[in-house]
Point group: C2
Chain length 384, copies 2
């Protein structure tokens, strides 16, 4: 029999069949009327998901590429800019800011640490005259989702522009672009937005656009003003990935039909169920045991077990793809994603497979305890 | 009845159903084994199409984005670089080179002019010490395909690196990356490679990589060395558009099964049929009436007729999308593409629709003459 396959990573994430079907539609020209209708609706839906009245610029690129647009459009060599990092992606943004010649202030927390407003406040005071602050809302490498509203407020108080990496958080946990005065919010198609990878987004506040008009770093495809002008007349400066835009339009329709608040609650419950299931097996969580941890659950491999082997066993024995730790966490933690097109049975599948694998490796785990506890956690919440 | 639709532009181009089906396959993780198999095969196929033993780097971006990688990786501010332009895309590359701070020598020919080796030779002598020469193989805005081998040889004689825009030529007309010593060849998925837009490619010679190691322009996602290192171990530094890579793998398989030489001959015959059909209607060609013009046929709108109206009429009345002129040629020429998944009946469809439209606009055209002459041109060649 054909092996069933399960994609349970924090990105790329599983894509609903309606979206896959849209990808297979015949290709249309990006300046033809039928594309423009899809494009217009899609841009409006992206703004709805972002909860912004400002422009959200769409690029054919990865989430990292969309983030690079922020750095390239906001940097002149020598500008003082601050990156607050506590994991792989935060450190990537620090490297990128440095590559663009900024005077980097790198507030580097340990991987998995929760960034606190006080850390940021004191760093800003110490550094002085920071023009841009880069924050990671959901650090996909560790599972930590921070209080981005509070952190952004600290940066704004200090007069800095705020750039938020919301690649894995947008659509999964609340992101209030305008209400929280986030100048720039970066996201991608392949996480909670239920689309394949290939599209990146960046919301731009008027202040961010104004700063961009003065920034001297070289950029062309990622230039905000060029894209903004084209989008305003429903054009694209360069040929966009039209098939992915078609898919995204359908995916965002599904998300908005569910309702953002309902989606946020679903994600919170999935995270809780996953954590409770993991703990019931005696495993130690790496990601925080709090309700904001709704994106990905990072779990310590038990003593004497290599996380790489857990990941391989799940793939080889059961056709299930979960994620290993990244960089310094490789082999130490494994990560179960639950953003986008996930329901409780994806969580029970992941937990059941982990149980079978660890039991075979010699762990003593009460049969079915993880799934049982996950179902409990899921149901309890329904009753509240 | 559902309207039949025909995409007859020079990009995006129609995509075969096998490729569309691959796009609709469930999303897989870019670090999982099943993806790596596809990725490895796809990279090998791209190199076969490029006819190179060197690396071809793959990016999730447009053709313009892939071109930007060449500029970003080869430029230090103040470097003397030459762009030879004769249309919209050549002028775009000049603007991009300037945006990256190079000391631009812009050899600007009229739109539609055929770039000649002597023009380039004298410009190189006059400028002196040019480090990089940017050439456009197929100028999609005008239909001109130049003798890139001869032009590249002139640039190499002068000691410059050669960067070739082969976005609309690769797979349609001969491109011999290694045999012609082309340091950098840029292409995209959505032209003769029969895939939707979203993937860009750039071949890099050892000399180009060496120059890149000294270039100081800021870049991150488009950095060649980062991508080269990752590709060498079948990894990707950033999440790639996995669905498009799946589609590309199938599309390149189709192209290589046909055989590159057969594909080149098919494209030459399609171009010839299109030109003969257009001339039979009394229309004046804008693109050259030579056998290299195998990518797109640009045709002057008849006196008193706006090309924009021809394009609109074809779309509104017949569901056919052809291309208007770009920028200064808008309204003056219309363009029929014939790269990728095209056969003779796409050409007769386009010509028949143009005939019907122009006749209704008052032109006196012998009924069926364009299709008749196109079929003749197509068949004559078979007999030779």
């Amino acid at each position: 029999m054909a092996e069933k396959r399960y994609l349970l990573t924090p990105g790329p994430t599983p894509v609903p069949p309606e979206v896959l079907a849209a990808l297979a539609e015949p290709v249309i020209h990006h300046r033809a009327r039928d594309y423009r209708e899809i494009y217009e609706r899609c841009l409006a839906r992206v703004r709805d998901v972002y909860r912004t009245e400002h422009d959200v610029l769409m690029y054919t690129t990865s989430g990292t590429g969309a983030f690079e647009s922020a750095v390239a459009n906001l940097t002149s060599p020598g500008d003082r800019q601050l990156v607050l990092s506590a994991g792989n992606f935060g450190e990537r943004w620090a490297g990128m800011v440095k590559a663009f010649g900024a005077d980097l202030v790198h507030v580097r927390l340990d991987w998995g640490e929760m960034p606190e407003p006080d850390d940021l406040r004191s760093a800003l005071v110490e550094a002085g005259d920071v023009r841009v602050v880069y924050l990671t809302h959901s650090e996909t490498s560790t599972g930590v989702v921070c209080d981005i509203q509070a952190l952004a407020a600290v940066a704004k108080e200090a007069g800095a522009l705020v750039v938020v990496d919301a690649v894995s958080s947008l659509g999964a946990v609340p992101v209030e672009t305008d209400a929280w005065e986030l100048d720039v919010v970066v996201s991608g198609s392949q996480k909670a937005l239920m689309c394949p990878p290939g599209l990146g987004f960046v919301s731009v506040s008027p202040a961010a656009l104004d700063a961009a008009s003065r920034a001297t770093a070289a950029r062309y495809v990622l230039d905000w003003e060029r894209t903004r002008k084209a989008q305003a007349k429903l054009d694209a400066p360069f040929t966009p990935a039209v098939s992915l835009v078609r898919g995204l339009d359908v995916a965002l329709g599904l998300l908005l039909d569910e309702g953002l608040e309902t989606a946020f609650e679903r994600h919170a419950r999935l995270g809780r169920a996953c954590r409770e299931g993991a703990k019931a097996m005696g495993l130690e969580l790496f990601s925080p045991d709090d309700d904001r941890s709704a994106v990905v659950t990072a779990i310590h491999a038990p003593d004497g077990v290599d996380a790489t082997e857990v990941v391989s066993a799940l793939r080889d024995r059961f056709g299930i793809t979960i994620a290993n730790g990244q960089a310094q966490l490789k082999g130490k933690v494994f990560r179960i994603g639950h953003i986008g097109w996930f329901d409780i049975f994806d969580i029970t599948t992941a937990l059941a497979a982990v149980e079978l694998t660890l039991t075979d490796a010699g762990a003593e785990i009460e049969r079915g305890v993880a799934v049982t506890r996950a179902l409990d956690a899921w149901s309890e919440h329904t009753r509240v």
